[in-house]
């Protein structure tokens, strides 16, 4: 799923200061799954913002709502009447949903309530860890189904650097496993360590965000 995290409350208060009426909109899909921007989070954040703004003498009316999917235009339409009465919109959706919302209401001030952070897996209750970097050139077939592009801090393609700790963690944090340590473990368990012995050529990053904004066109699906 796409994960997101709340921005610091002072940053959000800074955005809303001076506005009269704000629509705070969540999304019931990915950001709800990762407990950042679903209905529960919207209803938790709204009173915190009201209180903080009132306390500093600039009260703001905050109305709330949560869309099924903020990244699909049809789910936005029912909120058009609510949006017409506000002078700012704050979204707790991922960056995709946010931009569709901002596009639908270009005349209204728009603010992000979360930072979109990763393509992650809910590994355990309350724990999300990255699984994909959307690099556009998948290597999972060479690495026993474990992604070094998103899960190695250096996106190494030829095995672990010298930073693997004795515990098997990455040099950046004891909490981050060295993915190459795990790739080697899995290769060994499969009796195929030799598959990691060839030098892997530099990656083609042109189909990743580094290659410029993605525009995927499927002629067969065009109207």
């Amino acid at each position: 799923m796409i994960t997101a995290e709340w921005k610091p409350i002072p940053e959000l208060v800074g955005y809303l200061r001076g506005h009269q009426k704000v629509l705070l909109l969540g999304c019931a899909t990915c950001v709800a799954e990762c407990a950042a921007g679903g209905e529960r989070e919207v209803e938790t954040l709204a009173p915190l913002l009201r209180m903080a703004l009132a306390k500093e003498g600039s009260p703001v009316e905050i109305i709330t709502g949560t869309l099924e999917r903020q990244c699909e235009p049809e789910f936005i339409e029912p909120f058009v009447p609510a949006a017409e009465g506000v002078d700012a919109i704050m979204s707790l959706a991922c960056g995709i949903g946010m931009q569709l919302l901002a596009e639908r209401f270009p005349q209204i001030a728009f603010y992000p309530g979360v930072n979109t952070t990763s393509l992650s897996l809910r590994e355990a209750p309350g724990l999300w860890t990255t699984r994909c970097a959307a690099c556009g050139d998948c290597v999972l077939g060479e690495t026993f189904g474990l992604c070094p592009v998103s899960r190695c801090a250096k996106s190494l393609l030829n095995g672990p650097c010298g930073g693997t700790r004795t515990s098997g963690s990455c040099e950046i944090s004891e909490d981050t496993p060295c993915i190459w340590n795990l790739i080697v473990e899995r290769a060994k368990a499969r009796g195929q360590l030799d598959r990691l012995s060839a030098v892997r050529r530099p990656k083609d990053w042109s189909n990743s965000p580094a290659g410029g904004p993605k525009r995927m066109l499927r002629e067969d699906l065009r109207p």
């Binding site: 250096k154 996106s155 650097c161 010298g162 060994k188």
Partner: protein
Amino acid sequence: MSLKASTNLEKVLAAGQFALTAEIGPPRGPDAEVVAKKAALLKGLADAYNITDNQTAVVRMSSIAAAKLVLDAGLEPVMQMTCRDRNRIAMQSDLLGASALGLRNVLAISGDHQRAGAGGKLKGHPGAKGVYDVDSMQLLAILKGMRDEGLQASGDELTSRPAFFIGAAWTPLGPPKEFRVTRLAKKIAAGADFIQTQAVYDVKAFAQQLAQAHDQGLTEKAAILPGIIVPRSAGMLTYMHNNVPGVVVPAELTARLKGASDPKAEGIKVTVELIQAVRELPGVKGVHLQAIEAEELLREIIPAAGLTPRPQV
């Protein structure tokens, strides 16, 4: 045997002499005289001197500039290049520039992650965007392609071929241990002519990894120089054992420094003994000495290890 770059380091190794490299860390300022001073201090003690590339992800004078200053001071540099700060375009451009400046020994490494920031002693730049376009293995292959085929990574032709003596790092005792010899083999296949290792204190454990490399013929294909960081206190050894990945310090060595009345002198003795111990191992062609922020100690250690004067080749 035909030489690849005819550097002093390459010639010493080709002559079958026990090679010695040392390290010079560039300053956190624009001071050419600091580099010249360190160079003067170490002149004549080693065959070549590694110039680090923003080690521990802290901004320092560039390794290219510092290497050129060292070269001008009459010493031979080994220019280090990490994969953290440059994409393949900048790397190749800098390598052409380095070659034009007369820098011939290049060591390719991944580089400490930008979050390292001198292990917390300085702020560093943890918010920097790491590049990691290519990894150290791929950088080795790029160096070799430039030198041997006159080609850029893309396949475009260079107008002439830069002569490089290509180095790589090896962490023999890091996990997963069973893969570390394979990783060494990959680096040699990719292009490494010489290898400098992470600091060795556990000679027995290092010897086991090295024996595997030796059995696979790797020690004939590339010159292996075990690294030794001069220990100055028991605290320093404990710190490295606990915090520097791939460094394993036997407890008795730490105890020895702890019990010493003059830990610095004992550290010098330990270093000399380590040099002698690794020198005995089949496949070892030299040593790489680091006296971090205490380069003056090398003036005592190297003669004490019987490694002066350096061979004239």
